[in-house]
């Protein structure tokens, strides 16, 4: 649409007072339409988008309608030639485009992150080897609070292009222990005891069921693998708690956790013993001699 095509349908307004009134009316209508559309979108997208992103979208639409009405209706109405504006705008656009390449990249990545939603605020994640809680997802950056309380701002382009591990995206999560018991202990009994401990633990899930089995006959121990599923929200607390309970309960039942040990065989064991005996005999002879002398 160019100026002449719009202005040919609108009679020219020469009276300055009428011009002002017309501008006010057009702006008023644009504001009313903008408000109406934003209220409608707010209601329909309220449950689908988070508040902050929805506000950004609504503001963009609202001001976009006003700008379009100014450039598309008011300018042609007063025969203001916008072609020069478009050329200047194009040049400025190219300059700004180069200057704000990374910002635009982050912005577009942010939009895609909002649509794809691989992470949500509050999730525990590993993004670009940064582990922690997602504190905020903004339009051009994502904020992480690490487990030791550090604030990390990640550009959305990094978040979007790097691999993301979301530790709580699934409802349940598994953890594993290796329990090494002595060769002299009964592995079946140990498995039964460990199973009993898991049975008593509310958050050790019934389904997927836990697995406990002898995995390897190691150098120093019979290694029992214990795999337990827990709700993702309770996973870490349970992992921290159960291993020590297993260790204590096994020991209470006479099953010891094996430690590294080495049996040393002496090639000349018999000679060593003879020498020791001979040494003892000579010592005793000396003792008898001294007693007789007294």
């Amino acid at each position: 649409m160019n100026n002449s095509s719009v202005s040919q349908y609108i009679p020219p307004i020469s009276d300055p007072f009428l011009q002002i009134i017309t501008v006010i009316v057009i702006l008023f209508l644009a504001i009313v339409i903008g408000k109406g559309i934003t209220i409608y979108l707010q209601r329909s997208l309220k449950d689908k988008m988070d508040k902050e992103h929805l506000n950004i979208l609504l503001k963009t639409i609202y001001y976009g309608i006003i700008v379009v009405s100014i450039i598309g209706i008011i300018f042609p109405l007063f025969d203001i030639d916008t072609s020069g504006l478009l050329v200047a705008g194009g040049v400025v656009g190219i300059v700004l485009g180069f200057a704000s390449q990374s910002i635009v990249g982050n912005f577009i990545s942010g939009v895609f992150l909002m649509v794809e939603r691989p992470v949500k605020i509050g999730d525990q994640v590993n993004i670009d080897n940064k582990l922690g809680y997602v504190e905020d997802i903004k339009i051009i950056s994502t904020i992480i609070r690490t487990y030791d309380g550090l604030f990390i701002r990640l550009p959305n382009e990094t978040v979007f292009t790097t691999s993301i591990t979301n530790y709580v995206a699934n409802l349940v999560r598994r953890f594993e222990y290796v329990v090494g018991i002595r060769y002299s202990d009964d592995a079946d009994e140990a498995i039964k005891i460990i199973n009993g401990i898991i049975e008593e633990e509310p958050y050790a899930l019934v389904n997927p069921e836990p697995t406990i089995f002898v995995d390897t006959l190691g150098d120093n121990a019979v290694n029992i693998i214990v795999r337990i599923w827990a709700p993702s929200t309770e996973w870490y607390d349970l992992k921290m708690k159960l291993l020590w309970v297993i260790k204590k309960t096994l020991e209470e039942n006479g099953i010891e956790i094996a430690f590294p040990q080495r049996t040393v065989w002496f090639a000349s064991e018999l000679n060593t013993r003879n020498l020791q005996n001979g040494q003892m005999e000579s010592d005793m002879a000396c003792q008898n001699y001294s007693e007789e002398g007294q």
């Binding site: 995206a169 699934n170 409802l171 349940v172 049975e199 509310p202 958050y203 050790a204 899930l205 019934v206 389904n207 997927p208 599923w229 709700p231 929200t233 309770e234």
Partner: protein, 237 residues
């Protein structure tokens, strides 16, 4: 045990004791489990009554779900188009409420004498974490120790065109309506089977009498925003 008490009072069930002591205007609440003190609370400036009654069994040890899965010890088959009533048991969680001046009840303690376990129903990303309970399937109302177990009168309606095999039922705590008397503690529910992978459970009301009354449910008293009261079983029966 399930009643409204005016402090000071002591409720004993074996070596499990609830004791509320009055100290001037304050109340001291103590709960002992197998002789050991498990909880002590100080209720400041409080002269309200204490209500002890069963609540939805999905709150312990922490609130992580509003769903309960009852695993049937015996598989149940129902013919197409048929309707049949069975009875299951469910674990009892006991809520202790204190009433304020306006008569509004607020929860102060939750405990249970039943075993607490959780399970996953459905897929890892779209399923449900549920409180797990294994129950025998009865055709008549079972006798239960109401401090440990209640019963669910479950009407199964097979709306599908096939013989259906049922091994479990998922219930939503938002819809639970618990009723109790001196010896009975129960809920009335229905399970509508749509096909092999889809069923819907819901709760119904019992006719109440002075001896069989409606419990103060936790979800009702918290006035939580209710999204749905039905249990949708979309990952198999």
């Amino acid at each position: 045990m399930f009643d409204t008490y005016n402090p000071p009072f002591t409720v004993e069930h074996g070596d499990n004791v609830i004791k509320v002591i009055k100290e001037e205007k304050d109340l001291i609440y103590k709960r002992f489990f197998r002789g050991t003190e498990e909880k002590e609370l100080l209720l400041l400036n409080n002269d309200g009554d204490i209500l002890i009654n069963p609540i939805e069994p999905v709150n312990l040890p922490g609130k992580i779900t509003s769903f309960m899965l009852v695993d049937f010890k015996r598989t149940v088959f129902i013919r197409p188009g048929d309707k049949k009533k069975i009875y299951l048991t469910f674990p009892v969680e006991i809520g202790v409420f204190v009433s304020d001046k306006g008569g509004k009840h607020e929860i102060i303690d939750i405990f249970t004498y039943s075993r607490v376990k959780y399970t996953l129903y459905g897929s890892h990303n779209k399923g449900l974490v549920c409180r797990y309970w294994q129950s025998e399937v009865f055709t008549d109302e079972p006798d239960t120790n109401i401090l440990h177990e209640g019963y669910i009168e479950l009407e199964i309606i097979n709306d599908s065109g096939n013989l259906m095999e049922i091994t479990q039922a998922v219930f939503n705590a938002y819809g639970m309506k618990i009723y109790y008397g001196d010896r009975r503690l129960g809920m009335k529910a229905s399970m509508k089977i749509i096909n092999k992978l889809l069923a819907e459970t819901d709760f119904e009301t019992f006719p109440t009498t002075s001896r069989f009354k409606r419990s103060m449910e936790l979800y009702t008293s918290r006035k939580l925003m209710i999204n749905a009261t039905k249990g949708i079983m979309e990952f198999g029966l």
